[in-house]
Subunit: 241 residues, 2 copies
DNA sequence: TCTTAGTTACGTACGCCGTACGTAATGGGG
DNA sequence: CCCCATTACGTACGGCGTACGTAACTAAGA
């Protein structure tokens, strides 16, 4: 242990007790810290989340935060778990495909509310309390499906992968524009112009054909929710009967 | 334009000429810059890639790099495009599912060679030259498939999403351990212990059942390449006839 | 009850980071 | 041939994550 009680050994933040027996009672909690970080990320983007900002936001000194969160990466884990608690699980209907589609829609809505979520999901890869609740509920929904349990987890992973990539694509343009000094329209403009000039070169005839008719970028006149439903449903159709 | 000739307007880096007509001939190239950044990221992780490191690596002053790369984000675009050039496209066989599976395997191998790639893919969302080559080749492979072109692009996106998420999961443990002062085994140990203790609580009966038998973390005794092939094949099976 | 050891709080400091800006050198287009 | 766009790059600013040291606090053990 270092002087400040911060361990230099591997650990999972969830297995640490919030309150140790000995010293003064902690003035803050993981929940309030996570909530503040989520608030900042929602309002100003994930790059605005710093240990200093979060500490200041809850009215603590910068280094006090390290009593609750050993590293910034753990702060990310807290954030992901916090928003994962926004799922509303309803009882399985017996139609596992409908249930999983409903879950996927919730995930998409969650990511639209918290656009930084897709970028944090892959580095984290943890089994946080709310992630476990999510997995357990998914398996409940999959009870009618007659495949080995291990494959059910594969199915859940596949759906989540598709959802994450799909929504990341949806959000990419807006997120990039928000982090740069120009607008989403300008960003889309220069990218469309560039793509148009390349396609006009004739080097990519099939791509040019595929892009003509629809816009080159997601969201250009398409009903994204419908496309989303179709993509997820198609994936779900590959399992089972 | 600022004094240094660095534009503050939206632009796509690929539409900038490498050499302007006027001044001294540039001492470096986008290719060598991208190669150096890739070298650093491969050896020490993406977090070791900084403008200073890359500039020093090619023997340039830090701020000289900004004559070639207007922002760090554009450096990431160069990196993604550079490794995208490692694809080896072979003529379509007529069996589009086999062709796309082969492409997906190449993507997986690419991501294993460059473990930072999955994390850079979503923020970038660009149509770099090599990305266009990739898309064009994918559409060539999909010529035998009788669905609208727009859906073919959806299929390619779905496959890439699945691949990216799958490989990101494969790599997460090792990548996280590399960025922290302890080993991958220690990392896996504490996470497995935590998961075990939660599952033993009885709150997640279905998850506990699914996890018993196989290891809780990917790669615990499984043939990951086979699981990968199965996942991608299943997805491909959802399209077409 | 009193000590004491573990814990919380937090100020200071170090070595990084991205990049704005100013200046000197360079060499092709008019 | 000369002008000026362009390259090269040093300096500097404000921010970052976090190591470390110290003071205040409180529950557990004597």
């Amino acid at each position: 242990m270092t002087a400040g009680g911060r361990p230099a050994e591997p650990e999972v933040i969830w297995s640490r007790p919030q309150r140790a027996g000995r010293g003064p009672r902690p003035a803050h909690s993981r929940e309030s810290i996570a909530a503040e970080a989520v608030r900042i990320a929602d309002a100003e983007g994930i790059e605005a989340v710093s240990m200093r900002r979060v500490a200041a936001g809850i009215g603590a000194g910068t280094m006090s935060l390290y009593n609750y969160v050993p590293r910034k990466e753990e702060l990310y884990e807290l954030m992901v778990d916090a928003v994962s608690g926004e799922y509303e699980f309803t009882a399985p209907t017996g139609d596992w495909r409908a249930d999983l589609l409903a879950l996927a829609r919730q995930t998409r809505a969650l990511m639209h509310r918290h656009p930084w979520l897709p970028r944090l999901l892959s580095p984290v890869y943890g089994f946080s309390p709310n992630a476990l609740r999510y997995l357990e509920h998914s398996l409940e929904c999959l009870a009618p499906l007659d495949v080995p349990d291990a494959e059910k987890l594969e199915l859940v992973a596949a759906v989540n992968g598709t959802v994450a990539t799909y929504v990341a694509g949806e959000l990419a343009l807006a997120e990039r524009a928000r982090a740069l000094p120009w607008s989403e329209d300008e960003e889309q403009g220069v990218r469309t112009a560039w793509l148009g000039s390349r396609l006009a070169s004739g080097e990519y005839p099939r791509l040019a054909a595929a892009v003509s008719g629809t816009g080159p970028v997601p969201g250009a006149g398409l009903d994204m929710a419908a496309v989303f439903d179709r993509s997820v449903s198609r994936l779900l159709g590959a399992w089972g009967t």
